[in-house]
Symmetry: C2
Subunit: 503 residues, 2 copies
């Protein structure tokens, strides 16, 4: 978040305040806006049942799995629910109650527990499984250095490799305490959590027997063959397809063009401030563009078929609703405002908009900022031609400057594909599900790899819709996806339980 | 090496110099005695052809792959030989000249290049392959901090995980320079190098397409099901089987018993000093036991069918020769001396024996000492019943004290099996070869895992005999092993070359 602000500042400085030449760069987007995760305990969908009760535990985790000179441990939080668990008897040789392990991602683990009800309420019941949700280091309450966790010198231990090693150390220890060493372990995760599930199965098949990686953009990196512009194209397509003519997307593009023009006029920034009802006067058009883009792409990510409050409270298929609202006016900027209103103000309680909502520093969003600087280098960009956004190339040089100045880190541009593999990975017993509406599908695995790496495409599905509570409004595609997922995971769990049976 | 000395010292201190109660612990053995590696450029077998010429290169390697706050690089050495390489033309879509990559282990890479002639002279020629031998960090001339590499605070980057990450980063870079990105990569290694090859294939199937792990004791850890006493039992069996009655092994055991008895008598240590022609007076019997055990087990490791100087110059089947020599005397201790003479003094030039030959500090042996303290925790022990050695349990507490005091490291006892898997690993396209005579077979993979993880047992073979130059004295088992290895590696290389062909 800070990145974009700094970039704009740098560019403006370099260009000697020649605003006409101001160039936009795609800001480095976190998969989730951090502030949404504050809604702990609030139901995302009003009528959804609560997830089963859980108990909170803490494990003394190794701070550094890869350097034996580094001392120290930290308390890692994890949640356990045995409500549906078919717990193995001490004498049973075969375990029929598998472990469903959620590879916690960039947020409070309770938030993920409360927003994965297909897993917690349906799959766990179906499989007689133990629910085991582990919190990712540096997020939620799992802060290795407390409030000092994000001073730059303390951020060196915040990587996906350390997080997976945490899970690999944690699971056998917890299972031993439960007398469940011989139980199959199924890993599940969505978004970055889905990437972790995929990588966990690839790197630790000794710990985890199968996995469901929902909306996991593991190919959203350099040299994987994935399109850098796919993310913004899919978001654009979501708006385009609300009408046969694709009017909604083209009018949003027109609105962006108008905004850029107005911003270059004398008094233009103040005019935009007024038009968009911003709380604070705009200093640079980039802040507005960033805020609009965020609203549009988060709406695409959360384009669920029923009213939900996963990121923000929105109606069912919010993009359709927003494009219908746009159609009630002929002015493109006013139309864009109506679109944004669905994401930022569906409850109608907002008096003015705060464009710095994403740039305000917070422990969780800053932790993602560290990861986006060290190894999660996703070169997302827009070209303004196949997508509706102002053209903004991904600029590695700018990212590098930002990361060095902010965190003292030089991005390891190729490290993820070196360590985990790009499109040439090898694994088994793993499902990759992706929703057609989800911009992150651009980095998803969209084909099978052999007999037991299965891809599922969910028509009409947004970001990991399949992990959410089944709903009457669900399209058939996600109903089928969940059936397939359950069948495959159950089959792999059965196979694993036989292999792991006690002697 | 230092370990044993310290342990004995500690125990003696604790027991208030009550030598009668002195207990022996198995010293922590390096797979190779370091001093052997000084024989660079000297042929291990007189009549062997030289390996093909190579060029030496240096790569600026990342010091810390797992922490982006750690800065720094170091020069990593690697050797390239294109003598036999069927180099792909720039226009060729399919690469028919694979890369044979040697995962350098605990020593000078030139030493491994000079002692793997099945690979360098036979397999490379057969496959039209490029030879690519990379030196392991902290060994040979690849010293991240120069002469300061082994000050405790600098040893934190000495792990197998960092070494594999080095190789994963190095290979794509070198192949890109050679225009060989689409060439299959076959990994090869022996002993710890074999473990690295196995783990490399498991963890980086995106980098390496197949592997030959020769005499790789990847199960020589806790919780793998491997016997802790297997190493010493196999060494014992090697001596036992030289006669139907097993006399040689039982007489060695008797000799050990006599040594222990004599050591407890007044003047006993001086008597042993004289009997064994030691250069320096013995301070503790443990030094002598350690030196004898080392000679016996290294002889078992290097029990090759023809005269060779891999570790020390010895005749063909040195154990047979030594047991025949023992049979010429009825005194067990004198017989043991004749046995040891074959390992320590076959050239007849030694005037007195130096029991501290293994405990003298040296850069290479100290580097292994670090690894033996951080993650390579192999709980090898002897029981004095199934083996011919004085009973010596593996004592983790003592190891921990030693490692903490010497290197400031607490052993990560379960880390290797957590990270790489124990007996429940998953991989493909990998050969595990083990020699029946080799004590390290006790930690080897002795069964197939699926269709393409193939084990080979070499009757009459010692430590990675298959990697050595074919010799007229070779048993049929190793001839067959090399045929199978060539066939499988060629098949996997062909499959990979089709998969990797240029678009």
């Amino acid at each position: 978040m800070k990145l974009f602000v700094l970039l704009i500042f740098l560019i403006i400085s370099i260009l000697n305040k020649n605003v006409n030449s101001e160039q936009l760069y795609t800001r480095y987007r976190s998969p989730y806006p951090y502030y949404s995760q504050k809604n702990l305990g609030k139901k995302s969908v009003k009528d959804d049942p609560s997830p089963p009760p859980y108990k909170e535990y803490w494990y003394m985790q190794t701070l550094d799995h890869f350097n034996f000179q580094t001392k120290g441990q930290f308390a890692q939080r994890y949640l356990i629910s045995d409500t549906y668990w078919n717990k193995p008897s001490p004498s049973s040789k075969v375990c029929s109650g598998p472990i469903i392990f959620y590879t916690g991602n960039e947020g409070d683990i309770v938030w993920f527990y409360e927003n994965s009800q297909f897993i917690t309420n349906v799959l766990a019941k179906e499989m007689g499984a133990l629910l085991f949700f582990a919190e990712h280091r540096y997020y939620g309450e799992t802060l290795p250095f407390g409030n000092e966790s994000l001073t730059p010198e303390n951020t060196g231990y915040l990587t996906s490799e350390q997080a997976l090693a945490d899970y690999a150390e944690l699971i056998p220890s917890v299972l031993a305490d439960l007398g469940a060493e011989h139980c199959p372990v199924i890993s599940v995760g969505g978004s970055y959590g889905g990437m972790l599930t995929a990588w966990f199965r690839m790197k630790y098949p000794n710990i985890v027997d199968a996995g469901l990686a929902a909306s996991a953009p593991i190919l959203m990196f350099y040299k994987t063959g994935a399109s850098q512009e796919g993310f913004n194209q899919i978001a654009t397509d979501d708006f385009k397809q609300t009408s046969e003519e694709g009017t909604c997307a083209s009018r949003i593009r027109n609105a962006f063009n108008s905004i850029m023009e107005i911003s270059q006029q004398t008094g233009g920034l103040q005019q935009l401030t007024n038009t968009f009802s911003l709380c604070d006067s705009l200093n640079q058009v980039g802040d507005l563009v960033n805020w609009i883009e965020s609203g549009l792409t988060y709406m695409a990510m959360a384009d669920y078929p029923y009213p939900a409050g996963f990121l923000e409270p929105m109606p069912g298929y919010p993009i359709n609703v927003s494009c219908e609202a746009m159609a009630t006016t002929t002015d493109d900027i006013q139309g864009l405002l109506k679109v944004l209103n669905v994401y930022y103000n569906y409850t109608g309680t907002t008096q003015c908009y705060n464009t710095s909502v994403f740039t305000t520093s917070a422990l969780g969003s800053d932790a993602w900022d560290v990861q986006a600087c060290n190894e999660m280098i996703m070169p997302i960009s827009s070209n303004g031609v196949q997508d509706m956004f102002p053209a903004a190339p991904f600029n590695l040089q700018q990212l590098t400057s930002y990361c060095q100045q902010t965190w003292g880190i030089t991005p390891g541009v190729n490290w993820i594909t070196t360590y985990y593999g790009g499109s040439n990975f090898t694994t088994s017993n793993l499902i990759f599900s992706n929703g057609v509406l989800d911009p992150w599908r651009a980095g998803g695995v969209l084909k099978d790899y052999g007999d037991s790496v299965i891809h599922i495409i969910i028509d009409g599905g947004a970001h990991h819709l399949d992990l959410r509570m089944p709903n009457e409004a669900d399209p058939d595609s996600v109903i089928q996806a969940r059936i397939t997922e359950t069948k495959l995971l159950q089959m792999w769990a059965n196979e694993a339980s036989l292999k792991k049976q006690r002697k």
